[in-house]
Amino acid sequence: MIPMEHVLILGAALFAIGMYGVLARRNAVLILLSVELMLNAVNLNLIAFNVYLRPNPATGMVFSVFVIVIAAAEAGLALAIILRLFRNRRTANVDEADLLKW
C-alpha cells in the first residue's frame, strides 16, 4: 500500500514547481500553465485525503471535480485576456504589460 505521505510529498513537489513557474516565468501563457499545475497538485491532495482518511462520502472527489470546472473556466478566460493583451500591446510578457504602473 502506498503511504499517504508519499502522495502528499508528490503533491507538494508539483505545487512548488508550479509556484516557481508563477513567480519566475515571463510569458503569461506559461504562468497560466503553472497555475494549472498547482491546481492539479491541489486535486491530488484532495483525492489522497479523501481516499486515505475519510473514504465513505466522496467529498474530496466532489471538490476536485469543482476545482477542475473552475480551472477550465479560468483557463478560457485567462487565455482570452492574454489574446486581448497581445492584440493591444503586441506582447504576452507580463513584465511589459505595465500600463497600470507609473
Binding site: I9, A12, M19, V29, S34, Y52, A58, M61, L79, F86
Partner: protein, 199 residues
C-alpha cells in the same frame, strides 16, 4: 490491498508527472511547454487511477488533457511572436527560494503529522458517490458552477471578439509584422493563379 503493480505504477507515474512539470519550467518554446503540460496531466490522471479515483481521472483526461490543452495551443497559435525564447524574469532566485520553502513546510507537515490512515478500505463506485453527492448535498454549488461556466464563456467571447469600429487587422498587418503581409500577398497570388488557370 495494493500489490506490487500499483506501487510500481505510482512511482513511475510520479516520475512522469514531476519530470513533465520540470519540462514545463525548462522549456523555452511555448508549444513544448504545452506538450509537457499535457503529459503531466496524463501522468496525474494515472495517479488518480492508482488512488482509485476513476471518475476524477476520466474528467482529468477529458477536461485538462483534452480541452485545456487544445485551448492553450489555440492561444499560442494566435500569439505569433511569443512562441520561442521565453526566458525567466529576474525573480529566479526569489522564486526558487519561495518554492523550496513552501514545499519544505508542506513536506514537514505531511511527514510529521500523525495521519490515521487505517480507514482506507475498498472504494468501489466513485462515480455513483460523486453523482449522488452532486445532486443532493452539493446541488447549489453544482448549479453555481454551471452559471460560472456560462459567465466565463460569454466573457471570453466578449473579450476576444473584435469591436466593430476597431480597424484591428489592418493595424496589425501594417505594424511591422512581415509574416501577415507576405501571407496576404501569397494568398492573393494563389487566388490570381487560380483565376488564370480557370480562364
Amino acid at each position: 490491498m495494493d500489490g506490487f503493480g500499483v506501487t510500481a505504477a505510482f512511482w513511475g507515474l510520479s516520475a512522469l508527472a514531476v519530470g513533465s512539470a520540470l519540462g514545463i519550467m525548462l522549456a523555452r518554446s511555448l508549444l513544448h511547454a504545452v506538450l509537457w503540460l499535457i503529459l503531466a496531466f496524463a501522468g496525474l490522471a494515472g495517479l488518480f487511477v492508482t488512488l482509485s479515483a476513476d471518475f476524477v481521472a476520466v474528467a482529468q483526461v477529458l477536461v485538462y488533457a483534452g480541452a485545456v490543452g487544445v485551448l492553450v495551443v489555440f492561444a499560442i497559435m494566435l500569439t505569433p511572436n511569443s512562441q520561442t525564447g521565453n526566458s525567466e524574469t529576474r525573480m529566479v532566485g526569489p522564486g526558487l527560494f519561495v518554492a523550496s520553502v513552501v514545499s519544505g513546510i508542506m513536506v514537514y507537515i505531511a511527514t510529521q503529522t500523525d495521519w490515521s490512515t487505517a480507514a482506507r478500505g475498498d472504494f468501489p463506485a466513485t462515480a455513483l458517490e460523486i453523482g449522488t453527492a452532486l445532486t443532493n448535498r452539493y446541488l447549489l454549488p453544482f448549479e453555481v458552477a454551471s452559471v460560472l461556466l456560462i459567465a466565463a464563456m460569454v466573457g471570453a467571447i466578449v473579450l476576444v471578439r473584435a469591436a466593430r469600429d476597431e480597424p484591428e487587422r489592418r493595424e496589425l498587418a501594417g505594424e511591422g509584422e512581415g509574416e501577415v503581409n507576405t501571407a496576404e500577398a501569397a494568398g492573393r497570388e494563389v487566388v490570381a493563379a487560380g483565376s488564370h488557370g480557370g480562364h
